[in-house]
Symmetry: C2
Subunit: 352 residues, 2 copies
Amino acid sequence: MCVTGFIRGDSLRITMAKIAELAGVSKATVSRVLNSSGYVSENTREKVMKIVREFNFVPDARAVNLSKSMTRTIGLVLPSTSGPFYMEVIRGIEDVLAFDGYYMLLMTFEASKNKNETRKKYKSLLEEKRVDGLIVFDPEADEPFVQQMARIKKPCVYLGREYQKIPIDTVSADNETGSRLMMLHLLETHGFRKVAFVRGPLDSYHGMERFKGYRKSLTEWGIKCDDELVFCGNFTREGAEMVAESIFSAKPEAIFASNDEMALGIIHKAKQLGYSLSDMPAIVGFDDAPWAEHINPALTTVRQPMYDIGRTAARLIMDRLSDNGHKAPMKVKLHTNVVVRESCGCFKNRFE
Amino acid sequence: MCVTGFIRGDSLRITMAKIAELAGVSKATVSRVLNSSGYVSENTREKVMKIVREFNFVPDARAVNLSKSMTRTIGLVLPSTSGPFYMEVIRGIEDVLAFDGYYMLLMTFEASKNKNETRKKYKSLLEEKRVDGLIVFDPEADEPFVQQMARIKKPCVYLGREYQKIPIDTVSADNETGSRLMMLHLLETHGFRKVAFVRGPLDSYHGMERFKGYRKSLTEWGIKCDDELVFCGNFTREGAEMVAESIFSAKPEAIFASNDEMALGIIHKAKQLGYSLSDMPAIVGFDDAPWAEHINPALTTVRQPMYDIGRTAARLIMDRLSDNGHKAPMKVKLHTNVVVRESCGCFKNRFE
DNA sequence: CTGAAAGCGCTTACAG
DNA sequence: CTGAAAGCGCTTACAG
């Protein structure tokens, strides 16, 4: 059986109409066979499947999407892919999406110069129905914008912040408490009293949260927050190396860098300045970067449950998609925890 | 002007037909305005845009895709997201896609148990026209399967391998030459003659390539390839730690682990066994993992240009998409290079 | 159990 | 410069 115009196995231009014609049935029947929906006699099912296989026919997803009014795709927006742990978020999300047969559209802020352009772009992902739902990690998005996102009334969860006043799903880790847990370790376990803090960029939401935790802890312990012990960084290693000397000259017992990159820079500088591992002040970070356990001394830091954040967010989206019930927005908050290694002074110099 | 059934700003159920009706023109005209295609009088353009803005109308991408017969989406398939450098590939690809206004659909092997299932899935991405093109990093895909991919006759580039006999675009880094460059460094610069090699899983294509480079170098230098110096690993740190002791007892001058994870495991074990940094044999890796420069000693390793691989692949796809010329498949091969740090013996113990 | 027909929401020649 | 109409390739009540 050779039909003019088509080559077997060439799925390029074959459509359901052709399959129907060749099988001697209607498009509706082919559709039923392919979707296992409605009744089809075993006989015609066979007949149809034979042709389908012969031509390796695969329905056009764009047409299916339009008809069924869905896409089986979830958008994911991340600040970057190179960050230490965004990959964990992706993994958490993919695990649940793959299970439900959904696809993931990935977009980052990295490739574009203008953040607001990127925001417009991810917003339209939802508006133009290119995705059924959206997961966004954009902690610098301001409230009016997030309000707009909420008004689209499509499944959308923001990661990393709570936006308490906005009716939108969020999943975040408690950065402030993370800071406080670290301070607890430094103040209680080690008995330090003079703890320096290296801030991130002042417009960073998480940087702010972490700093708040530091200050509140000091207050709780009745320690005055000394401005001389608070330093400005920009979350980069280089930036931290620049201020490292002035930090050292303030003679702190411990240095709390608000991310691991900066902690690394400070440790590096300390070595350059001739500090040995044993007389270096305690230096701790935040994030638990993939290399944090490998550096020398191994870095004590705060870990955010990135995988769980991704997983929880994806679950939330899937729920919204199936229930389509108008449940109240959820504000999920996950725990951070301190990963104790060597750089705080615990287990110091195990192999030396 | 309040139209029944619609709330301003509610883009949920408004379609082009409604916009046309409200603006008192035809759908065709609205389409022309929105796409800036064909002639439209300034007057009607204004009229239409006013309504469009008022209702925040965004055309349904699914319908556009179906009509225009495209999706502006490229699929990307990766072994995992947690690997050391896949993120670089993503970044390279995204940089060019974002520039051309394309979207990226990401899929990994990680979330699924069965590799062949995943292959079927990414193949259908192209068949069902969910994406316009596909970039695949799946070095374990066998030739018959890749043949099938080639026959789909849609833009598709395979990363990491050449598949010389198959007419399909590929972009890969030269792993074998990478190994040889490393061996050159070990043999020539350091004058080592007794170099152990730790293989990856035997079914790994890259593992094979790297091993070949090792053997060829030895042959070239007239050194007999001693089986006693070749060890089996599985690309994991734990696996390497298991064989580390037997490696040491063979007393090699240098140990070439065919990836960084294994090098790390061996270094770790060496420390545990009491080796000091100065009497440890040279230990080098492959991949340049993000933490490779941070460990102690800093790891000498081979670097693949992952960003360039991604970028090149995306460019290739974009070209295919615009030209739609039937140019011959391209086999792009990029260079690897040795990153010299401390673990080979160069700059040993700078800060000690 | 099966088919004719309308519909999903756009685009694009073709007339005028 | 603009509109009527066909088309993209499916799905889905509705009849029978």
